[in-house]
Symmetry: C2
Subunit: 347 residues, 2 copies
Amino acid sequence: MLSQFKWMSMPQKQVKLIDIANKLNVSIGLVSIVLSGKSKERRISDELAAKVIETAKALGYRPNQLARGLRTGKSGIIGLLVADISNPFFGKMARYIENEAAKLEYQVMFGSSDENPEKLENLVNMFASRQVDGMIIVPVFQSESFLLSLQEQSIPFVFIDRYCEGVDEDAVVSDNYLGSYQLTSLLIKKGYGKIAAFANDLHLSNIKDRMHGYTTALKDSGLNYPVEDFIFEVDFDQLDTRLEAMLKQALENGCDAFFFANNKLGISSLKYFDKVGLTIPEDIGIVCFDNPEAFQVAKPGITCVEQPIELMCAKAINILSRKIEGKTESKPERISLPGKLIVRESC
Amino acid sequence: MLSQFKWMSMPQKQVKLIDIANKLNVSIGLVSIVLSGKSKERRISDELAAKVIETAKALGYRPNQLARGLRTGKSGIIGLLVADISNPFFGKMARYIENEAAKLEYQVMFGSSDENPEKLENLVNMFASRQVDGMIIVPVFQSESFLLSLQEQSIPFVFIDRYCEGVDEDAVVSDNYLGSYQLTSLLIKKGYGKIAAFANDLHLSNIKDRMHGYTTALKDSGLNYPVEDFIFEVDFDQLDTRLEAMLKQALENGCDAFFFANNKLGISSLKYFDKVGLTIPEDIGIVCFDNPEAFQVAKPGITCVEQPIELMCAKAINILSRKIEGKTESKPERISLPGKLIVRESC
DNA sequence: ATTATTTGCTCAAACGTTTTACTAGAAAAT
DNA sequence: ATTTTCTAGTAAAACGTTTGAGCAAATAAT
């Protein structure tokens, strides 16, 4: 029985312009003109154009975007460089970028840098090699020099989530200062006196701004303690090993409230507090940047600031597409969009 | 001041093979040979090869993958088609696919189908148009016919998360039957008598298998009630509007326990139960497929089955890469990998 | 000393498009 | 009747690679 070997059937070459051209005895260029929608301006007769379109459809023609891209110099691809696509925050970002890009007929390639400048560099180079029309980049610590060199090359990009100190490029971020100020102020208003702040990497612009909001809120409230004793830095890759020790340390320092600079820190800490039997908000108060689903089902719910991810992505794609089209009329701008304060029961 | 207009500086054309060739007064082909690592087999002298590599580095050469791909017929890209990249389950999948693909020097493009067959078809066509070397596809309801036609074309793909009934292709899924059987059995063992099942789309193979595990566990325990009255189907896009009504209905039907077929249903329902003041596990028992972070911080923690996503992705890439290399020796296989039962306090 | 082989490189076609320049014939203007 | 303009199309170069075929010089074999 042949049917047994059905999975061995095969090839069926891709149909290309020349196949259509041959079938209709016209030139290959004509087919190209018609199929790229230039029939009018190149005054191809309507009947012939119709015939071309028809046979293209009949034959199942699909343009080869590699060839097209090579010829036109546009790949129709946007590169998205996040820290880690499996982090729900970046997952959402990817989705909105995908949506916005699709509106402009772009497709998205992504890469996860893991906050590692070398990985970022490799990925950016790969993307450039693939002739992406532009990139949306979450910059990482110590990537300035490379990103500066990237600026010299003719490929447009915009930062998202964070900006990069030494690199004067467009950036779209949420208002990290404001959100953190609000969260910290809320803790203070609720009567918590010694508030610890936990962050993953104090070098990143978004984290810096969040810490700035935190410290300023403290100062504005007249709370004066050696702030540096209350700011804890713990890398994501040390989360399992170092976080608990630091939380314990903070508690020993007399902290009765916690400000977490992002969802991963908040979630991991929540597990710890549960383990050691601290009750929220009685024993300790908690607030956090980001609004993952976990904060909604946690008991009590966690007060937080939700970032305007969709808006950020729309803005970013908007700016990027203008840059791609060469409308580089204006100086790079840093757009900072306010998030939404969500008050729950954790403080 | 010129520095004011720094952002207006520009172009710096991409350097290509011919630039290197000219600089060294050698042929363009030679440069290509050296840079693609074929110096030995094409016996280029070591010193010249070294010089080529050196100047390539000095000039910052980056191969144009569009041109390369056009010539070689390989793009080095794998397409990943998920239902929604912002769903943490698929986010993790994307990450592991990215990792595994990177090992084989592939890059990943993704697309979200939203469980919509037309979107899926469009995305697949776009990917094919971009000459992806292969695809990893989460098939959706009513995409059989299109996927069958895709089989006819020479582009290899493998299913992940679900298989597609009428389409005989390789698939890597988690053991949905087993996991669901375990979860349901656990509920029964704990003494819950009337167990409702909630699913998003009863047509999908993974959901079918989960329901099968659920019903079989019931039957094996001698529990006999009109199962169809206890299976609720609610689409993701109806989650906000219909879910609550169905949960209420289930409760009115006397259900004292719930089996949720995926994380989104579980999480949303959790919020509802909290709202109406039902306590878990006393009033009702709960189990769920998937292990999102929310289930770890929820109080009580939610008993669930964690899918072996990383392993699934490794397997999928493995199979796909073999297909890409044309080693299509064997009949398509369906690989089903067992997940991990995580018992918490929700039942 | 001739022939055969190896070494180290060059040539040019090809991949599938897009697009500029051109042309043959028809229609319009002189 | 000749020139001009328009119409509807063709031809061919170009995009940046890879690669099979070829070739001259050097080395080895006879």
